[in-house]
């Protein structure tokens, strides 16, 4: 396949970026999207052009590092996958592909397609944990039976890989799906109850301070989420937040 690639190039955090056009020939439909990018970079380097920087690591859809906004969608046109799982068979010979970084004010660009998502980390420092020491002196794991449905729902929320596709896809750059997935995981489990009030208040506060937009329930995040995290979690967080505030 022969492709025309329009890619956001930006030298560093302070530089002004712009879209650059490259053409790439000999792309096989069995290649993954990132392998296509590798191929482009090899060719760019041969021509003495700085390769396109992009985040990637596990290349099997679980680490959450890859973060490309492809043809107007986070992680490209396919569903329930990350960029690294997108394969070139989803494109046609002669296609033009627009590749941009995940954009949001709290995700500043570091270089080209690499963005800084440490705002997600900071939200979790604010309360994304159960305060239990790792001493091993806890009670036996089975001393605390947990209803299967709650455990499964907590798992579904916990399957978030922190990639930021929800923020990137949201027209408001809201991080509600991410934060609510974290809040929900603990809210659904008995272990998380003790600190539930503080957790949701602190995490939401940090989210707001980072400068993410407001949720307007468009549902784009849920559709683009590689792990299919449900909007139910946002409703749950809203509930948790309101009751936490009522409690004091």
């Amino acid at each position: 396949m022969k492709l025309k690639l329009k890619i956001w190039r930006q030298e560093n955090a302070t530089a002004k970026g712009s879209m650059h056009t490259y053409s790439l020939d000999g792309v096989s439909p069995d290649m993954s999207f990132l392998e296509m990018m590798d191929m482009l970079n090899e060719q760019l380097m041969e021509q003495g052009i700085d390769p396109v920087a992009f985040d990637h690591d596990c290349r099997e859809g679980i680490c959450g590092a890859c973060s490309m906004f492809i043809n107007g969608e986070a992680h490209g046109p396919d569903r329930l996958i990350t960029t690294c799982q997108l394969h070139m068979r989803k494109f046609k010979d002669g296609d033009t592909i627009h590749i941009e970084p995940f954009r949001a004010k709290p995700f500043p660009v570091i270089k080209d397609l690499v963005v800084d998502r440490s705002s997600f980390d900071r939200i979790q420092h604010a309360g994304g944990f159960v305060s239990v020491n790792t001493s091993g002196n806890t009670q036996d794991a089975n001393a605390l039976p947990i209803e299967k449905e709650a455990a499964d729902k907590a798992f579904d929320a916990a399957s978030c890989i922190g990639c930021g596709a929800c923020v990137a896809s949201c027209k408001n750059a809201s991080a509600m799906l991410f934060v609510s997935a974290k809040v929900s995981q603990y809210a659904l489990l008995p272990q998380g109850q003790v600190e539930a009030t503080d957790r949701v208040m602190n995490m939401v506060k940090q989210m707001d301070e980072e400068g993410f937009g407001n949720c307007t329930n468009t549902g784009a995040c849920e559709v683009e989420c590689p792990k299919g995290i449900s909007l139910e979690n946002i409703a749950r967080m809203n509930r948790e937040y309101l009751t936490a505030n009522l409690k004091g």
């Binding site: 690591d57 799982q85 159960v130 272990q191």
Partner: protein, 667 residues
């Protein structure tokens, strides 16, 4: 030849760890506040260690090359984590887990370490549940278990196909709590490029900020390396693209012995290589072997027809299929350990029975499981069990509930529907049992430098059983290192802060800078990946699933030549003081190019077959691995002497006092 002291405590095996804990030195809470510890790597081992050390009161500096600790490659572990809880009442015990692990490792691991691992395994599950890790549960609300290869009990805890992610997020959440309290200072996107020793003790590291290119000095009273394994030596592996040996190799060059480098795990169930541009291989969880049956066609002409696309696997009659694992190993069948399953697949493919275009793939078939589950479900629901359409439909639903995410992943990559046609799989490099040599306290031969998790030579001997890597990482980080490091640090309570302006730091920084400048200013023309790919091919072809003297010698020669060519011809674009991935890669590949040579040398010296290390010269008449206990019941620990091929061998004799050395049999 020097003997290594592993500092194994005296006494009966079941009491060693308890006695040891009772007798080692402690650091008082007030003094812990005066002590700094560096942890490099934030996977299960590094993350759990950093969190626990910070909870204890030490000042921790944690480093990872990823943009967040949560992305360390432990996250990709799918299947599960072992613990001798015996919740299923199927006869499991600490001893049994210990025994299975030693046997699974083909009797090349240290008894005392493995026993301790089995002992603390139960704490891990308690801990993770307390942290809110959503492990799989049954309808009674209790934890569920499944079975993994090489064992006869169900002791594997799991969280769907995401056990690694959930456990890592547990450790990460414990870290978050400490980062929030200011007890862990987290350095994301930082790569450790050297270890700094002062008066022979590890006192700090030199790092490069991967965003700004800044070279930084960080001092501490002890350094913990938790940087994972070196599977990317093979270029194509199931490791993450960034996984590297650099931290481990740098400490090796500073005096830490490197143990059993050739012990590599080739995982039997990975998605086969599809093309030349492939950058990475994807694992399909071993849990699939619980229900999938592995086969190739019985007749070569059928295999050829399948390869050419003239025949579909589903059209092949039952009697024309060779379920070779069930045939060769009736007792364990499809659940033989990984090394055995991998070699068997290679053997069939080498004989010409491979089923994809490259001839390097076998089938993993769920058709029988679908029917079996479907009938069960139909029976429970009181439906017609002879209606095959209905049975298949019900069966698929069950398979979907169990392995849905794995099936989806397979379909996205291969573009075939594994519910309808058997999966194709082939072995791929997955884990490295070898690594930095450590004693019972997990300290390397450099005082004050510790290695935990996959980075050390670990508790897995020559082969690792499924679901025990997560166990080891968390055991080291949560429950072992935090105790043993105190024994060392007890002598440091009066040392005070370590200065970073000493000549040792100066020298280490200067050497890092000169290496970076050399790459940037090199007038080469070939990319880093060009060399990495070549290195991977040499290692895979000559030091892969089966090895012989001639090939290994050739590998040593070729890797050396490639390394020389690399320094002459490599081209690194960009500048040293900016985000520069090719530069970061060049620094990593440079270390792989040295390790590769030692890897082949180690494989050459060990003329026996054991676990994942199969020497063609040492096999039974049936083609099974043949150990040589009389000559090789030891750990090979290599001391760096300038050139990898000049490394000096130290032996740690392995004593088996609680388990009888036997030929491993899964028949």
């Amino acid at each position: 030849m020097a003997r290594l002291d592993a500092k194994i405590p005296e006494g009966p095996i079941a009491e060693k760890w308890t006695n040891h804990k009772n007798n080692i030195n402690l650091v008082s809470p007030a003094n812990k506040r005066q002590i700094d510890v560096i942890v490099v790597g934030t996977g299960l081992a590094g993350g759990s260690a950093a969190a626990t050390l910070a909870e204890l009161g030490y000042n921790v500096k944690a480093f990872c090359f990823q943009d967040s600790p949560r992305r360390a490659h432990s996250i990709a572990a799918q299947g599960g984590i072992n613990a001798a809880k015996n919740y299923q009442g199927d006869g499991d015990s600490t001893y049994r887990l210990f025994y299975d692990t030693v046997k699974g490792g083909d009797y090349r691991s240290r008894e005392a370490n493995v026993y301790r691992l089995a002992e603390v395994s139960t704490n891990i599950i308690d801990q993770c549940v307390a942290q809110g890790v959503p492990c799989a549960r049954d309808y009674g609300g209790l934890l569920d278990n499944r079975s993994f290869g090489g064992v006869l009990v169900s002791r594997t805890f799991y969280a769907k196909g995401q056990t690694g992610q959930q456990l890592l997020l547990g450790a990460y959440s414990a870290m978050n709590r400490q980062i929030g309290r200011g007890k862990i200072k987290m350095y994301n996107r930082h790569e450790m490029l050297d270890l700094v020793k002062v008066d022979g003790k590890a006192r700090g590291i030199i790092t490069r900020n991967l965003v700004t290119g800044e070279i930084e000095r960080h001092a501490a009273h002890a350094v913990v390396i938790a940087s994972g394994g070196y599977g990317n030596l093979f270029y194509l592996s199931t490791n993450a693209m960034g996984s590297n040996v650099t931290a481990a190799w740098k400490i090796h060059k500073q005096g830490a012995y490197f143990a059993n480098p050739c012990f590599t795990q080739i995982h039997p169930t990975c998605i086969p290589v599809s093309g030349e541009n492939q950058s990475k291989l994807t694992l399909m969880s071993e849990s699939l072997r619980n229900d999938g049956r592995i086969w190739v066609p019985k007749k070569k002409e059928d295999a050829a027809a399948i390869r050419e696309g003239k025949l579909k696997p589903t059209e092949l009659a039952e009697e024309d299929r060779d379920y070779y694992l069930e045939r060769r190993y009736p007792a364990f069948g499809n659940l033989v350990p990984r090394d055995v399953a991998s070699r068997a697949a290679k053997e069939r493919c080498d004989e010409g029975y491979g089923v994809n275009k490259t001839g390097e793939a076998v089938y993993l078939d769920f058709a029988d499981a679908i029917v079996r589950y479907g009938k069960e479900k139909a029976h429970v629901k009181g439906l017609d069990e002879s209606d095959m359409g209905l049975v298949r439909k019900l069966g698929k639903e069950i398979i979907k509930a169990k392995y849905g995410n794995l099936f989806q992943m397979y379909e996205k990559i291969v573009d075939q529907n594994p519910y309808e046609t058997p999966m194709m799989i082939y072995p791929a490099v997955h884990y490295t049992m070898g690594g930095v040599w450590v004693d019972y306290n997990l300290m390397t031969t450099v005082p004050g430098c510790f290695a935990i998790g996959e980075a050390n030579f670990s508790d897995h001997g020559a082969n690792r059983l499924g679901a025990s890597a997560l166990m080891q990482g968390l055991a080291d980080g949560y429950f072992v290192l935090p105790y043993t490091i105190g024994d060392y640090l007890a002598d440091d309570i009066r040392t005070g802060p370590i200065a970073t302006d000493s000549p040792e730091f100066e020298a280490a920084e200067a050497s890092v800078r000169s290496q970076i400048d050399a790459f940037i200013n090199n007038n080469g023309s070939k990319t880093v990946d060009y060399f990495h790919r070549k290195l991977g091919k040499i290692i895979w072809d000559k030091c892969g699933m089966s090895r012989n003297e001639k090939q290994l010698k050739e590998a040593i020669r070729k890797v050396k030549a490639l390394r020389e060519a690399f320094y002459k011809e490599v081209f690194v674009p960009g500048t040293a003081d900016s985000f520069n991935e090719p530069l970061a890669k060049a620094l990593r590949v440079a270390d792989f190019l040295e390790l590769g040579e030692l890897f082949a040398k180690d494989a050459l010296e060990r003329t026996e077959s054991c676990g994942g290390h199969f020497r063609e010269e040492s096999q039974s008449p049936e083609g099974e691995a043949l150990r040589d206990d009389a000559n090789f019941t030891f750990v090979s620990a290599w001391e760096y002497k300038g050139e990898p091929s000049e490394a000096k061998l130290h032996k740690e004799e392995l004593k088996y006092e609680n388990i009888e050395l036997k030929t491993r049999s899964y028949k």
